[in-house]
Subunit: 350 residues, 2 copies
C-alpha cells in the first residue's frame, strides 16, 4: 500500500510556473524514494484565467480545494491585472476560508549564499506571523471620492482569540528554539491595538514554562535585525509586522528568492498552503533562470506538514548541498538555470 497525498498545485503567474514545475518533479522524486506518492491537481488559476473569465478561480474554487491534503502555490501577479484583484481573487480567500491563521516563515543563512552582512553564519530565525486578522481586515474604504475632503480609512482588528492562538503556536515554536519569543509590538503610545496584543501575548506565553517574551518595538526590532540579527531566534508578529519583518530577515540572509512561507491551519481542519515568498517577477518569467530554492523549501515544509519528515529532510539537504557546491541561479551570483539547479537537487535526494 502506498501513501498518496492529493495536492492542489497553483503555479499562478510568471516565475511561479517556472519554479513549481521543477519543484513538483523534485517532490515526486523524493516521494518515490520514501514510499509515498503525490497526486497533483494542477490548477490554471491565474491572471490569464482572470482576463478570460473575470475570475482568478472558479466560483467553487475553495470547495474544490477543500477535498485536498494541501495547496502548493507558485506566485500570482501580472502587470495587466491590478494586484488587489489577483490577491482578493485567490491568495487572501484561501488564507481566510481555510483559516490558515499561522504564516510560518523560517530563514537561515544557506550554504553558499552570501548574507547581507558579515558574521551571520548562525542566522536562524523563524517568524510566526498572524495571518488572518490584524491590519489586514476587510473593514475600510473611502469617503468623498474625488472631493477635496476625500479620505481613506482602514480598520485594524485584533481579537483575543486571534492573538491567543498565534501566540500559542509561536510559544510552542520558541520552546524548541531556546525559549525566547520576540514579540513585535508598537505599544508605546499611539496604536490602540498594540497594548492589547502585548497583554494577550504575555498572558498566553505565561502558560508555557520555559518560554519568555521579549517585547520589542517594531522600529527598534527592524534596526536590531540589521545590527544584531543573530540575537533573534523566534518572532511572533501581527499580519503586517510579520509581512515586513519576514522580508527584512530574508534580505539579511541575502535573498528573497530563497524564502518559504507556510500558511497553516494548525488543527488540520482545512488544507494548508505552501508558497515561496517571492513574487511572479514578470521581468524574468519564462527565461529559465528563476531561483527555485524558495519553492523547494516551501515544498519541504509541505512534506513536513504532511508527516513525511524524512522526505522533507532529504529535500532540504539536497538543495542545501547543491548550494554548498556553489551551484546557484544568477540572482545568487551563480550561472545555473532553474532546470540545472533542480537536476542537481534531484541527484542528491536520498
Amino acid at each position: 500500500m502506498t501513501r498518496t497525498y492529493t495536492i492542489d498545485s497553483i503555479p499562478g503567474d510568471g516565475i511561479g510556473v517556472d519554479v513549481t514545475d521543477v519543484a513538483m518533479e523534485c517532490v515526486d522524486a523524493v516521494a518515490g524514494l520514501h514510499g509515498f506518492s503525490v497526486s497533483w491537481r494542477v490548477r490554471d488559476w491565474n491572471s490569464d484565467l482572470y482576463v478570460k473569465t473575470g475570475r482568478m478561480m472558479p466560483v467553487d474554487g475553495i470547495e474544490q480545494l477543500s477535498s485536498g491534503d494541501g495547496i502548493y502555490l507558485g506566485a500570482v501577479g501580472t502587470p495587466d491585472v491590478p494586484d488587489d484583484v489577483t490577491l482578493w481573487g485567490l491568495l487572501i480567500p484561501i488564507r481566510r476560508e481555510f483559516d490558515q491563521y499561522i504564516n510560518l516563515r523560517p530563514m537561515k543563512l544557506l550554504p553558499g549564499v552570501k548574507g547581507a552582512m558579515p558574521g551571520i553564519e548562525d542566522l536562524d530565525i523563524v517568524v510566526v506571523r498572524e495571518n488572518v486578522e490584524g491590519e489586514y481586515s476587510q473593514i475600510g474604504g473611502r469617503f468623498g471620492a474625488g472631493t477635496d475632503a476625500e479620505f481613506a480609512v482602514q480598520e485594524s482588528v485584533f481579537t483575543k482569540a486571534g492573538v491567543r492562538r498565534a501566540a500559542r503556536y509561536a510559544a510552542e515554536v520558541a520552546a524548541g528554539r531556546g525559549g525566547t519569543l520576540v514579540s513585535a509590538t508598537k505599544s508605546n503610545g499611539i496604536i490602540h491595538t498594540m497594548p492589547f496584543w502585548d497583554e494577550v501575548v504575555a498572558r498566553t506565553v505565561a502558560e508555557f514554562p520555559g518560554v519568555t517574551v521579549d517585547k520589542v518595538l517594531i522600529d527598534a526590532l527592524a534596526a536590531r535585525l540589521v545590527m544584531k540579527p543573530t540575537s533573534v531566534r523566534t518572532i511572533v508578529a501581527s499580519n503586517l509586522f510579520g509581512d515586513i519583518l519576514s522580508d527584512l530577515v530574508a534580505g539579511v540572509a541575502g535573498s528573497i528568492g530563497i524564502a518559504p512561507s507556510a500558511n497553516l491551519n494548525p488543527e488540520r481542519r482545512y488544507p494548508s498552503m505552501f508558497e515561496p515568498v517571492h513574487g511572479s517577477a514578470p521581468d524574468i518569467a519564462g527565461k529559465g533562470i528563476a531561483n527555485p530554492v524558495g519553492a523547494l523549501w516551501a515544498a519541504a515544509m509541505m512534506l513536513y506538514h504532511l508527516g513525511e519528515e524524512a522526505a522533507a529532510r532529504s529535500l532540504t539537504s539536497a538543495f542545501e548541498s547543491t548550494l554548498a557546491e556553489g551551484i546557484a541561479t544568477p540572482d545568487l551570483g551563480g550561472s545555473a538555470t532553474t532546470l540545472e539547479f533542480a537536476k542537481e537537487v534531484r541527484s542528491r535526494l536520498r
Copy 2:
C-alpha cells in the same frame, strides 16, 4: 545687534538630559562664532514631573511653547510610567498641536562609524515621514474588556490634504537629491488606505518636473534597504512606515544613537521640534557615556531651520570630524565620555 532665538529645551528623561546638556553648550558656542545667540527656556517636563503632578507638562504647556522659535527635545520615557502616558502627555500633543506634519530623518554613513554591511560608504538617505495622521490616529479602543469576545481596533486615517502636503514636501526634497522619490506602500491588496496613498502621491509628484515616484511595497523596501541600501536616496512614507524605515536605515548606518529627527511645521506657523531618534535609555542614564551625536545632528537641523545655515554646517562638520578622528562614545566602539566628545566638537567649531 545680535539675532536671538528663543528655544524651549525639554531634556526629558534618562540620557535625554545627558545629551541635551552638552548639545546646548555646543549650540551656544557655534552661535557665538556666527553672531547670534540662543535664549534657552529649559523645561523640567518629564516623567518625574508626571509622578509629582500627574502631568507631563503644565496645563498651558502648549501655549508656553507657542511663543518660542523652536523646541529641542532630549528623550522621554522611564520604566516607572507607562509609555502611553509619557507620549500622549508630551511628544504627541506637541507634534499635533503645532501641526508638525513632516518628520524629516536624514541618515548617512558618518566617518568612523561602522555601517552594518560593507560597501555602503555612499549611504545617504532622507526619510520624509508623514507625522500627524495615518496609522497613528486617535480613533480606536477595545470592545468587551475582560470577556472572551474582547477585541481591539485601530483606525488608520489618510486624508487627501494630509498625504498631499507630505508628498509635496518630499518631492521638493527629492528634487534636490537626484529626482527619484521612493514611496513606501502596501497597496497590493488588503490595506484600503494604501491605494489612496499611491494615487495622491502620484498626482502630487506629477506637479514636480524632474521628480519621479518609485512605488515600493513596504516588505520589499525593507529587504531592499538591507540588500541595496545605496539604491535609495529619498523616501516618503506614512507615519508608521516612516517610523519603521527610519530606524531600519539608522541600523544600516550602524547606530540608532546618531540619528536625528526634525518634526517640522514647514509653513512656520508654529514652532518645529528637533530631537534625537534614540530613547531615554534608562540603563546608561547619568553614566556620562551617552552618544550625543543624534542630539547634535538634531541641533544642526534646528539651526538650519532657523536660517543659520553656516552655523549648522559648522556644527555638522565638527561632530563629523571628531568621529573621523576615531573619537567616539562606547556604543560606537570608542572610549570617549559624552563630555569628552562634546569638548572635541566645541574645539572644532569654526
